[in-house]
């Protein structure tokens, strides 16, 4: 766990990652709050807070007496939100670092293109 951020947020992110990777499928059941607490060795109230965050966002939904499930369209919603954050969390810090290293904008574009073609040939 990352010390700087609330644990419940990190739990919610890990569940989202599992949904994005397909480890948790839409309409599939997710582990119970207590199972999350045991697995990540955290207080059950914290695990519950993370799960509830995803319920509020419509990523998970409750079936009374049965458990928690991944909502239809959850993957799409997570992807859309993370795309919005992509600029803020990846592009902006990269540009700041590039500026402090004196890497010019056209060089950045070139570096990205090089990386992309390297990935394609792999």
């Amino acid at each position: 766990m990352d010390e700087a951020r609330p644990i419940f947020q990190q739990i919610a992110e890990r569940v989202e990652n599992d949904i994005l990777s397909g480890a948790l499928s839409e309409e599939g059941q997710v582990p119970s709050t207590n199972e999350f607490a045991m697995f990540y060795r955290i207080n059950p109230a914290t695990a519950g807070k993370g799960v509830n965050l995803l319920v509020e966002q419509g990523i998970l939904y409750k079936r009374r007496g049965i458990g928690m499930f991944v909502a239809a369209g959850a993957r799409e919603r997570i992807t859309a939100r993370r795309r919005e954050l992509f600029v803020l969390e990846y592009i902006a810090p990269m540009l700041a670092e590039a500026a402090s290293l004196g890497i010019k904008p056209d060089q950045i574009t070139q570096l990205i293109e090089n990386q992309l073609s390297e990935r394609e040939t792999r």
Partner: protein
């Protein structure tokens, strides 16, 4: 959940031994069914507080209420609490099996089958004098009694002395699993803060007999940051903030500040070539309890 009656209510509690104040004007209440950490340095008053919570010592001033009642010589209350003390002593010739056999007399909700299961997990020899058990085995016995008591209020005072890392994690995992199944109030006094910090829902920190912090673990996490860089740049960045700790190395400085940093703060720090690092739960408590400033100011700053 906060509308429930507190399971523990402490008001203006002080305890002096001759002219030394072991506890001074401590006031807090705990809602039922939480795992709460009781943290602080040696001599901070943790054991004194736990002894008064369990009716083994008497306040010089103030009051203690468990389930709304005074615990002293109150058998209804005492049957529902279990105090696992590091200093627990047993009579000569007493074996672990005698301790476990006697436990149902003291604990209304004792679960013998669970205790047997734990004896196996901790590999505790049952037919050996408790006095001849290793320090770790004696701790394991205490942990087993504490868990299997299933007491509504279970208090562990440094339960891990002599327990190796494997046994400690067995304790944490078992505590978490059993607590998840049967929520109850757990008060855990420990020095191994980083090991247990993720298990805690609430934190009480004592320092020199005073209550320094009384807040949710979640609100404490990330409520301080360490700023590192050239001393002059660091000093201008932290100006006007609550400084908890300061280290210097030549022209470099690392300063720990209280309060959450905003995204704008992070941008400003990056622009000034400063590094910002999170402060671990344990480090934060250490920084708070080594400060000389009066406690209330610190608590109010970290609380926001």
């Amino acid at each position: 959940m906060n509308s429930q009656n507190p399971v523990i209510q402490v008001d203006g509690l002080s305890r002096s031994y001759r002219d030394v104040a072991a506890l001074w004007d401590v006031t807090f209440s705990l809602q039922p069914n939480m795992i709460c950490g009781l943290l602080g340095r040696n001599g901070a008053g943790k054991t004194t507080l736990m002894r008064m919570l369990t009716g083994q010592d008497f306040p010089s001033a103030g009051s203690v209420r468990l389930f709304g009642e005074n615990p002293v010589e109150n058998s209804t209350v005492l049957q529902q609490i279990c105090f696992v003390s590091e200093a627990q002593r047993y009579p000569d010739g007493f074996q672990a099996r005698h301790v476990l056999a006697g436990a149902p007399w003291f604990f209304a909700d004792w679960d013998a089958a669970f205790a047997d299961d734990l004896v196996g997990k901790f590999r505790l020899p049952l037919k050996r004098d408790v006095k001849k058990l290793s320090r770790g085995q004696q701790s394991a016995l205490g942990v087993i009694v504490g868990l299997a008591s299933r007491a509504s209020i279970t208090i562990f005072d440094e339960p891990y002395l002599g327990l190796d890392a494997v046994a400690r994690h067995t304790f944490y995992d078992t505590l978490l699993a059993d607590y998840a199944e049967r929520p109850r109030t757990i008060l855990l006094s420990t020095h191994l803060i980083d090991e247990v910090s993720n298990l805690l829902e609430h934190v009480l920190v004592l320092d020199e007999g005073r209550l320094l912090l009384d807040q949710s673990a979640e609100s404490l996490r990330g409520s301080a940051a360490a700023v590192a860089g050239r001393a002059g740049d660091v000093d201008s960045f932290v100006e006007g903030r609550q400084i908890l700790h300061r280290d210097t190395l030549g022209g470099l400085a690392t300063v720990t500040i209280a309060g959450r940093l905003t995204a704008a703060d992070h941008r400003a720090a990056t622009a000034a070539n400063l590094e910002i690092a999170p402060v671990s739960f344990q480090q934060l408590i250490v920084d708070l309890s080594t400060r000389s400033a009066p406690a209330p100011a610190v608590a109010s700053v970290v609380h926001e």
